[in-house]
Assembly symmetry: none
Homo-oligomer: 247 residues x 2
DNA sequence: GGCGTTCTGTTACACGCTGTTACCTAGGCC
DNA sequence: GGCCTAGGTAACAGCGTGTAACAGAACGCC
């Protein structure tokens, strides 16, 4: 594959420059833009693999631009924002952004997200989109969503607890995408009770939960092949996931 | 089957966004709406499988909208509300809502309800609607409502107590719908006297009752196939129920 | 009424699930 | 190497559920 070409869209010159430089240092072609018109120029003049789009672009919402771009083209978009409140995040997803990252961001995380989105985009073109989710296959394992059963490559059944199952589902839905503990937590909270004395969890429940899931679905939990740790970031489900419909 | 398309109707942007994202994370296509007119836009522009409708929509009662929609179309509706009082619930059912869920709701419960309603909708189109209920068939078992007899897949008779029968009926009437202990209790009370020294039951009668029913109609009560537990939620009758009319 | 049987709710205990904590190791930086 | 921080994990505690045992209620029969 050729070197990915990214547009870095931000009206603040300093941020734009920093981001551009950082991405170039990490092997990407980064093209700085500061407005919708410059984005269109770039899109018109050559291949663009991904757009990093600031949510606040002068007077205009990046969200709106994202919406328009999505209508016209199929370029993946990652929204970047200083507003980390959840509803903004929601808004980002609603308009079809492929991912969303809040400033100030961990450069490692940004890089990982960029790679993940590119990876996904590459496959989605040749993959049929999931329909009625029924069976997931990953690294020899099989998860039957209907029966809620996990089968090992050797064919024996493994019973997962409710939380473990929920965690597995989160990863199955986001293969190759580095997930922070906070994100996993949010995803699980949504699946879970929805209760809560303490809104966030101060502890390290995710770490323990990941450890427990590793104990059940990793050939050697000491050397995780599926649930990889990304130090300083979180965890990634590092294998492809094939989804089979229930016909 | 293709991915179910749901309308999320709520005038509060935050709730709407949260719900939308949650549903998307769980494999649905969720389309946010904030008014009756946007609902109609969506209904006009493509297939909609289910509407999640907030009871309070600005000045207007979601109930009224539900009533109007029901007059025109055959889309299933789940009413969502902060008003959990029973008479509101009743009002919801009267206007033809397929289910009703109170805020703040357990996300698990919501998801399960959504699936249940979709499941029901899918079958109802090919199933004649129950008339004079006579015989229920479920997972090889048969319950004759007229004679009040339960027959096992192997053909032998099983005698249920009054409460056990009532419980079975509650589940037969709500297959695939997770029921809380409170709901089951209410449903049973309705069947019973409707009296009560202590309105709610402090004890765990439902748990014991479910255990007893399991002992009679589960192949292996240790691994329930019919009466599944949903931790933190309640119980679900996890098989299809076929209803046969009395000619 | 007295008695036995069946039904049903309560209680107590067992057990599995899950979050917290504490301690240890691994990785990164000086 | 030393130091610091992030992550792995064993141990523990709290909670929800399954269920056996018990007691009282309901019912039928004499």
């Amino acid at each position: 594959m050729t070197i990915p070409r990214l547009l870095v869209v931000d009206d603040d010159a300093e941020t734009r420059g920093m981001l551009t430089q950082f991405l170039r240092q990490n092997g990407f072609i980064a093209l700085p833009c500061d407005s919708e018109s410059t984005i269109r120029d770039q899109l018109g003049s050559g291949r663009v693999d991904l757009i990093l789009l600031d949510v606040m672009l002068g007077d205009e919402y990046g969200v709106d631009i994202c919406k328009r771009l999505r209508h016209e083209q199929d370029v993946p978009v990652i929204l970047v924002s200083a507003l980390s409140a959840d509803h903004h995040r929601m808004a980002g997803y609603e308009v079809g952004a492929d991912d969303y990252i809040a400033k100030p961001f961990n450069p490692n995380l940004l890089l990982a997200r960029v790679k993940a989105v590119l990876h996904r985009a590459k496959r989605s073109s040749s993959l049929t989109y999931r329909r009625s989710i029924s069976t997931f296959r990953f690294g020899g394992w099989c998860y039957d969503a209907k029966r809620d059963e996990v089968t090992s490559p050797q064919g024996y059944q493994v019973s997962l607890s409710r939380k473990e199952t929920a965690l597995l589902k989160v990863f199955l839905g986001n293969p190759h995408i580095p997930l922070t503990r906070e994100e996993i937590n949010t995803a699980l909270d949504v699946t879970g009770d929805g209760q809560d004395v303490g809104s966030g969890n101060p502890g390290r429940a995710i770490d323990v939960l990941v450890g427990r899931l590793r104990g059940k679905i990793e050939a050697d939990p000491k050397i995780p092949e599926l649930l990889r740790t990304q130090r300083g970031v979180g965890y990634v489900f590092a294998v492809d996931v094939a989804v089979e419909d229930d016909q």
